[in-house]
């Protein structure tokens, strides 16, 4: 959703929000999480990632946060920005995930889900 709650999130947006559900992350952390969670199906090159972040920040789904206490010590003090979900972002993620789950359930019901995805 683009913030208004009407448009489905793109796969990349969803994966970025997904990466931020558990903890705040910096750009490189988000990049790696998206790559890992999507098994490499969704790529988040640096330019594209920050374009998504820029938009999600504008839409109020993501916000800048303080450096988490458990951040790696070797990067402490470096000019890294951390991003976390806003309440609105969390709601948007939940709604989109529910929408995807419904869609998946419907597809399952009609036996349209490939075997390996079950």
């Amino acid at each position: 959703m683009n913030g208004s709650g009407s448009t489905p999130l793109s796969a990349r947006d969803w994966h970025v929000l997904m990466a931020l559900t558990e903890r705040s992350l910096h750009g490189y952390g988000i990049m790696k999480a998206v790559q890992r969670d999507s098994n490499g199906r969704v790529t988040a090159e640096i330019g594209s990632l920050y374009r998504v972040l820029d938009r999600l920040l504008d839409e109020g789904l993501v916000e800048e946060t303080d450096e988490p206490a458990d951040a790696p010590t070797d990067t402490r003090g470096r000019p890294r920005r951390y991003y976390g979900l806003t309440r609105r972002g969390r709601r948007a993620f939940r709604e989109e995930t529910a929408r995807l789950a419904d869609a998946l359930a419907l597809a399952r019901e009609r036996n349209l889900v490939p075997e390996r995805s079950r």
């Binding site: 490189y28 640096i46 938009r55 890294r80």
Partner: protein, 913 residues
């Protein structure tokens, strides 16, 4: 991170400034993390990452600008056909690149066949040039052609003090095998030449290797027949065994399927054949026979024999982990007194061929320079194609302006031109890959068999997926350089101005001084290069002509190498055994020469470490009483060590002074003979006999003892080319002093037919004598010959590239001029201008640039000639004339198409606008 950080600072400029100021610092930090991760995965991963990031930045920059423009209320394009046409192929809210753009790109290729051909040709030669360094290094340093060959790693210790890899020993092998866990197991090898005698008399010198049994297990290559060497074969007192290579088995044993169990003599030892390896297995470099490597038990590990050590990475272990463990183990196991600066390295097996390069071929400065030069040539090619694209875009001014007026954004127009260029570049890269494969095959085929038959067995010139990906990446970069830049320049004008110009059939654009300078440079460099290539080709032809550089009938001589395993009969033996072995070698050498001379077909046997036409050793020489050259300690001179009767055997008389005699081998041995070129170049034509000279080291160090010149001989050829520079010193040696000698046997016609006799006689004299027949002396090509071939092939390729670039540049500028001046040409034609006048008005500028290029090219070539006055590669006047003619012809051909197009302009058509 320094250069890549700077690179990122450049590409990030593709993004809008507001976006950069908001996210730039953080993006750089993210890039830094991703860069470190990719760097750990190797060079290829880094290259792919950089290409992906660049393309992503291009796309993000365009999309972000569109998004910001929309957000600020300036929505562009509409829905339906109108909007679709206006945006080129892309939907307004959709991606900038679609299949329709690609299809349009193909249509443009077909619609402008001349431009397509010229651009494709320019890129099809430019892209392989850009690819060549990486592909050649990849081919030369390829993994071993064994299962999971990339896991095979060489262990070596780089010595900064020596500037090369230090020797590894059997002691290192034992210690490292015990301690290292990053490898499945380690194996050791030592290369040698063995005299293999199938039992018919007359052995064959075969390159082989002593290997540990673990070598075969590590390589995971099973035998074709029998079994490989096993650990039991390494036990003291075990029966001597041998494993034969496929070629040796076929050539010397007739492919006998019942060979297993047969006893053959290898050196002086009868060994049982236990296995035959499959065809193509030539481990470690190009070997054809393998025997067990004995690991001696020594009191002093410092005296342990040298071996090569390699292993297969254990499962789940990568090269970096193995490197870390090896560094630690090698540091802890270093012998007392060894150099503490030694750098342990876990490297690819191909590093056995580059012991003097710490970072392998890729790390050498020459190679980096080659890579940069190749990329510069590619960029020049792209710039030329860019001019063509600019000219074509200018021709489409009307169409693009209308699109802009209908709402297409600048980004859409740029992306459309980019995709068109990308289609062209991808087609060109395909053609370029075919060209690259063909050129490499050609180069490999013209190299003498003596070189290719000894080349490392892992060399692989095939075009693999990595090369294809690299070519596509270069195609992407080419499309950016050749497409985006011209399109940005073209679209950087107001819509209204473009529409007005289009109506007037004018573009109003100027190609700019840079493009003119580019064409002039193209032409000038091409003129120089043509002259250079022709001169090099002439040198190859001259050098190839038999007997041209030597004063003996080389075609009547059979050249062969004879050597003796100095440990023959002394395996595990003492120094006394070694001395006995050396004595046997001296006696055998004398006896062999004596018996050969008794043969009625033989009229002389010359013995030396290098025969005429062969590549002689190079030394610095200082002459007493004469100042050395300003920049070094002596004059570079060729050296041959010769038997005392060498000149008599070659029927050469000593011109001044005396020949060597037996007395010159007694005592301090101070007599040397020089050639006439030495007298001229080193002694300045002064009297030579009685003068003293000495060898001085290239770097620091003590000079050798003084030697007295006792005679002067004529020119005999000390390397393939440049007779005027082959000043030579001849030093006498006694039989047995050199580990191997070259024999020049004067047998008259068909010297090759004498090879069998030579082998038989050698076998009779001493079964340990190893004979390696080189062939007729006039077909010996060593040293500079290879360099010349590489130079000529490279120069011919370069000339092709430069001519194509110059032609495409001229074509582009003329096409543009015709498009620009259609109305003017029409008016002129209507006013009765003649064809000659029209031709001059159209082609004048290009012809002027052509002329200027030629005028600049001649002094460049002349300067080159002056700088290389002593070099055989200097351009000659004749070659230069040909270069100028070729360039002018190419330029005129490039002018023809656009000029004819201008002449076809009908006045009424031109004036319609």
């Amino acid at each position: 991170m320094t250069w890549c950080g700077r690179w990122f600072d450049v590409v990030i400029r593709l993004l809008p400034s507001a976006f950069r100021s908001r996210h730039g610092g953080d993006m750089r930090e993210t890039f830094s993390g991703a860069w470190a991760e990719h760097r750990a995965r190797g060079r290829f991963a880094v290259a792919a990452f950089l290409v992906r990031t660049t393309l992503d930045m291009v796309g993000t920059g365009v999309r972000e600008r569109v998004r910001r423009r929309r957000r600020s209320g300036r929505r562009v394009g509409g829905r339906g056909f109108r909007g679709r046409f206006a945006r080129g192929a892309s939907g307004g809210g959709g991606p900038l690149f679609t299949w329709l753009d690609v299809r349009l790109g193909f249509r443009m290729l077909v619609k402008h066949p001349g431009l397509t051909l010229v651009s494709t040709f320019a890129l099809a030669v430019g892209i392989p040039v850009g690819l060549a360094p990486t592909h050649i290094v990849g081919g030369l340093m390829a993994p071993l052609p064994v299962p999971q060959g990339q896991e095979i790693r060489l262990l070596r210790q780089w010595s900064p003090a020596l500037g090369k890899a230090a020797r590894s020993t059997t002691h290192d092998f034992e210690v490292w095998s015990e301690a290292l866990t990053s490898f499945e197991r380690l194996a050791a090898f030592r290369q040698a030449t063995f005299n293999v005698d199938p039992g018919e008399g007359g052995g064959t010198a075969v390159r082989g290797a002593e290997v540990t049994a673990s070598a075969f297990t590590t390589l995971r290559v099973g035998p074709l027949l029998g079994r490989p060497i096993q650990p039991s074969d390494e036990e003291p007192g075990a029966d001597p065994v041998v494993v034969l290579g496929h070629d040796l088995w076929q050539a010397r044993f007739g492919g006998d399927p019942s060979i297993i169990g047969r006893v053959v003599r290898v050196g002086s030892t009868p060994r049982t054949v236990v296995g035959v390896m499959p065809e193509g297995f030539l481990f470690p470099t190009h070997e054809g026979v393998w025997v067990p490597l004995a690991i001696p038990t020594l009191d002093d590990p410092a005296n342990a024999p040298s071996v090569g050590i390699f292993g297969r990475l254990a499962e789940g272990v990568d090269a970096a982990q193995a490197q870390a463990e090896f560094a630690s183990v090698a540091a802890h196991s270093a012998l007392p007194g060894s150099d503490p600066r030694m750098q342990p390295q876990v490297v690819g097996f191909a590093y056995t061929q580059v012991p003097g390069l710490s970072g392998g071929l890729r790390g050498s400065p020459e190679w980096v320079a080659f890579e940069i030069l190749a990329l510069v040539i590619l960029l020049v090619a792209c710039a030329n194609v860019g001019m063509l694209v600019f000219a074509r875009t200018a021709n489409r001014a009307g169409e693009l302006s209308v699109r802009t007026a209908l709402g297409a954004t600048r980004a859409h127009i740029v992306s459309q031109v980019f995709v068109e260029c990308l289609v062209l570049a991808v087609v060109a890269s395909g053609a370029g890959l075919v060209l690259l494969a063909a050129v490499l095959r050609l180069m490999w085929s013209v190299l003498p068999a003596a070189l290719t038959s000894a080349a490392p067995w892992w060399i692989d010139w095939s075009i693999g997926p990595g090369t294809v990906v690299h070519a596509l990446a270069l195609a992407g970069v080419s499309a950016v350089v050749a497409g985006v830049a011209p399109a940005l320049r073209f679209t950087g004008r107001s819509v209204q101005a473009n529409i007005q110009r289009a109506r007037a059939r004018q573009t109003g654009l100027r190609m700019g001084g840079l493009s003119g300078a580019l064409i002039v440079t193209d032409v000038a460099v091409a003129v120089t290069a043509v002259g250079f290539a022709l001169t090099a080709a002439a040198q190859v032809r001259d050098a190839g002509a038999a007997n041209q550089t030597v004063n003996i009938p080389a075609a009547e001589y059979l050249a062969a190498t004879v050597s003796f395993p100095l440990d023959a009969g002394a395996e595990g033996g003492t120094a006394t055994d070694g001395a006995r072995s050396a004595g046997r070698w001296a006696a055998a050498q004398e006896e062999l020469v004596r018996r050969l001379r008794e043969d009625p077909r033989v009229s002389g046997v010359a013995v030396a470490d290098a025969l005429p036409r062969m590549n002689h050793d190079s030394r610095l020489v200082e002459a007493e009483g004469l100042a050395p050259p300003a920049d070094r300690r002596g004059t570079s001179t060729r050296l041959a060590r010769v038997a005392v009767d060498f000149f008599r055997s070659l029927d050469q008389s000593v011109l001044i002074g005396r020949d060597f005699g037996a007395g010159d081998l007694v005592g301090a041995r101070s007599a040397v003979i020089v050639n006439t070129t030495f007298v001229q170049n080193v002694l300045g034509g002064q009297s030579a006999v009685g003068r003293r000279i000495r060898f001085v080291p290239w770097g620091d160090g003590e000079p050798g003892p003084w030697m007295e010149i006792v005679g002067v001989v004529g020119h005999l050829g000390t390397r393939m080319i440049s007779a005027e520079n082959d000043q030579a010193v001849y030093e006498p040696f006694a039989p047995g002093e050199l580990r191997s000698v070259r024999l020049g046997i004067h047998v008259g016609e068909d010297p090759t037919g004498f090879a069998t006799t030579l082998r038989t006689v050698a076998g009779q004299v001493d079964p340990d004598l190893m004979v390696s027949v080189i062939g007729p002396l006039d077909r010996v090509y060593e040293g500079d010959w290879y360099f010349l071939i590489a130079l000529t092939t490279g120069a011919a390729f370069l000339v092709g590239v430069l001519l194509a670039l110059a032609a495409s540049g001229i074509y582009a500028i003329l096409s543009f001029a015709v498009a620009e001046r259609t109305t003017e040409i029409g008016i002129r034609a209507a006013l009765g201008a003649g064809r000659r006048e029209l031709i001059l008005s159209v082609a004048g500028r290009a012809l002027a640039q052509l002329g200027l290029g030629v005028v600049l090219g001649i002094p460049m070539a002349t300067l080159f000639t002056r700088m290389n006055q002593t070099s055989p590669y200097a351009a000659t006047g004749q070659a230069l004339a040909v270069g100028v003619t070729v360039m002018v012809l190419v330029g005129l051909v490039a002018c023809t198409g656009p000029t004819l197009r201008a002449l076809r302009v009908h006045p009424s058509e031109a004036l319609k606008g």
